[in-house]
Amino acid sequence: MSRETLFNAALLLGLIAVPAWAVMMDEPFTITLATRAVILALAAAGLNIALGIGGLVSLGHAVFFGIGGYAMGILAHHAQSYTPLMEWPFLIEGTKFMPVIWLLAVVVSAVAAFLIGLMSLRTTGAYFIMITLAFGQMFYYFAISWSTYGGEDGMSIYIRNDFPGLNTLVPIQFYGLCLAILVVVLIFTARLRRSPFGLALNAARQVPARVEAVGMDPMRLKLVAFVISGVITGLAGALFADLNRFVSPTMFSWQFSGEIMILVILGGVGRLFGPVAGAVTFVALEHFLGGITEFWHIFLGLILLAVVLFARGGITGLVAGKEATHD
C-alpha cells in the first residue's frame, strides 16, 4: 500500500470517526462542520476532474454550484409556498423530494456546462480562465437581479428537504447522506481515471496533438469532462443549499469559484482524495483561525502562498510524497 493510499484511508476514517465522536459527545455543530467539509469536497471533486485530469483551469465553477443551489431553492420554494413552478404548457409543481431536486440540479448543470464548455473550449490558457470567470459573473449578476427568486437576498427554505427513509433534520443522518454521495463520486472518479476515457483525457491534457493523431478529438474529451465536472459540482450545490436551507447569488460569485479552486490545489491537484484533504483543511482553518482573529484571511493567504511556493502537490503531496497516481 502506498503512502497516498494510507493517507486517503486515514482521511476517510476521519470522516467517519469524527462525526461518530460528535454524536457520542453531543456536539452537533461538529457534524455541521463536517457536513460542510464533505459538501465542499464534493464540489471540489467535480472541479478536480476538469482541472486535475483535463487540465481545464475553470475559474467559473461557481456557476454549477449556484445552479445546483437554485435548483433546490426554486423547487423547495414553490413546494413550501404551494405555488406551481409553471402552469403552461404543462403543470410543474415544486417539490421537497431530494432525488428530484438532484435530478434537476444535475440536468441543468449538465446543459449549462455543455454550453459554457462549447464556447469556452475554443480558447486556451489565460483566455479559458477569463472566459469561465466571465460566465460566472454573468450568472452572478443575473441571479442578483432575478427578483422572482429573491434577487440578492436569496431564498430561505424553512425545513430541510426529504430523502426517503431518512430524517434529514437530524445532522448525522444528513451528514451520512452527503458522505455517501461523496464516496460514490470518489469511487466513480477512481474508476474514471483508469478508464479509457480517463486515459484519453489525461493524455489530452498533456499532449493534445498525440490524442488527435490517434483518432480522438481532444476538444470533445474535454467537453465531456467539463460536463461531468459541472454536474458533480452542481450536485454539491444542491446539497450545500440544503445544508444551509438557503440559497443566494453568492453561490455564483467569482470568489467562490476561487475557493473551490483553492480546495483542489490545497489538497493536491489531480489527486483522488485531494479535494477531500483540501476541504477538510479549509473548513478547519476557517473555523479555528476565524476563532482566533478577525484578520484570519491574512493567515489563510499566507498558508496558500506557502502551499503554492513550497508544497507543490498540496497536502496530499506533502504527506504522501510525489505523484503516486499509478500502481
Partner: protein
C-alpha cells in the same frame, strides 16, 4: 486510383507573403517508402500539417484511399487510416509506455467513451498495444513511465503508437531525429520491413537512412517540389545538386 494510398493535389498554403507550399502534388503507393527531403525552411512541416489535418490548405486537396479528406479534422483522418509520428516525441510523459500504446489502440477502435471499466483491463486493447510494443522492442519496458525512457526508446514508442492504429498509410516526421548511428540502423531495418504493411511517407534529414529506404524521393525547396524520382535519379538531378550544394546546373 487504387494505385495511390495517399495523395496531395496541388496544395498551396501561404503565410502572409511567404508561400510555404506551392502547388504540391505528391502521392504514396502501396508498399513503398516515399521520402520527402529538402533544406531547412523548405516547407516540410507545413506539408505534413496539411496532410495530417492540423493546417488547412489555401487551395488543393488531400486524398486518402481515393477519398477527399481535405475537409476532415486530424482525428477524423487518423480514424480514416493515417498513422503519424512526430518530429519531437508527442507522448504522455506522465503515463506508462503501455498506456501510451493503449491510447493508440483506443483511438483506432473508438473505445474512448468508456467511463467505468479499466483501460488496462480491456483484453483487446491490451493485446493490440502489447503487440505493437513487442514489434518495436519495448516489450520489456511496458510498465516504465514515458518520462523515464531514453530518447531512443521514445522514438520507438512514437512508432509503436502509430502501429497500434493499423493505419493504411504512415506519415513519419523525422523518426531518426536524435538517434545515434546504432539506433538509426535499427529503426531503418524496422521501417524497411514495415513498408509491406502500409506505405510510408517519410520526412527525414538522415540521408543514409533515406537513401537506404526510399523507393522514391521528392525534393522540396521553397515550398515547391523540384524533383521526384528514384534514389539514383535524385542523386544525379542537377536541380537537386544546385539546391543542396549551390552548384550551378
Amino acid at each position: 486510383m487504387t494505385e495511390t494510398i495517399l495523395a496531395t493535389h496541388g496544395i498551396t498554403k501561404s503565410f502572409g507573403a511567404l508561400k510555404a507550399s506551392n502547388d504540391i502534388s505528391i502521392d504514396l503507393r502501396p508498399g513503398e517508402i516515399h521520402a520527402i527531403i529538402g533544406p531547412n525552411g523548405a516547407g516540410k512541416s507545413t506539408l505534413i500539417g496539411q496532410i495530417c489535418g492540423s493546417l488547412a490548405p489555401d487551395a488543393g486537396r488531400v486524398e486518402l484511399m481515393g477519398q477527399d479528406v481535405t475537409g476532415l479534422s486530424t482525428d477524423q483522418r487518423a480514424r480514416a487510416g493515417l498513422g503519424r509520428t512526430f518530429q519531437i516525441s508527442a507522448l504522455a510523459m506522465e503515463d506508462t509506455v503501455l498506456e501510451n500504446a493503449i491510447l493508440g489502440a483506443m483511438g483506432a477502435s473508438g473505445r474512448s467513451w468508456r467511463f467505468w471499466s479499466a483501460a488496462l483491463g480491456d483484453r483487446s486493447l491490451r493485446t493490440r498495444a502489447e503487440a505493437a510494443l513487442e514489434r518495436v522492442g519495448l516489450a520489456e519496458s511496458m510498465t516504465k513511465r514515458c518520462a523515464d525512457l531514453s530518447h531512443g526508446q521514445r522514438r520507438q514508442l512514437e512508432v509503436a503508437v502509430a502501429l497500434t492504429l493499423a493505419p493504411k498509410a504512415f506519415v513519419m516526421d523525422e523518426p531518426m531525429a536524435g538517434l545515434g548511428a546504432e539506433g538509426s540502423k535499427n529503426l531503418t531495418g524496422f521501417l524497411d520491413s514495415l513498408r509491406q504493411e502500409a506505405p510510408i511517407l517519410l520526412v527525414e534529414h538522415d540521408m543514409d537512412a533515406v537513401f537506404a529506404l526510399a523507393d522514391r524521393i521528392s525534393v522540396l525547396v521553397y515550398g515547391e517540389v523540384i524533383a521526384t524520382g528514384s534514389v539514383d535519379q535524385i542523386r544525379s538531378d542537377p536541380r537537386v545538386r544546385e539546391a543542396y550544394l549551390g552548384e550551378s546546373a
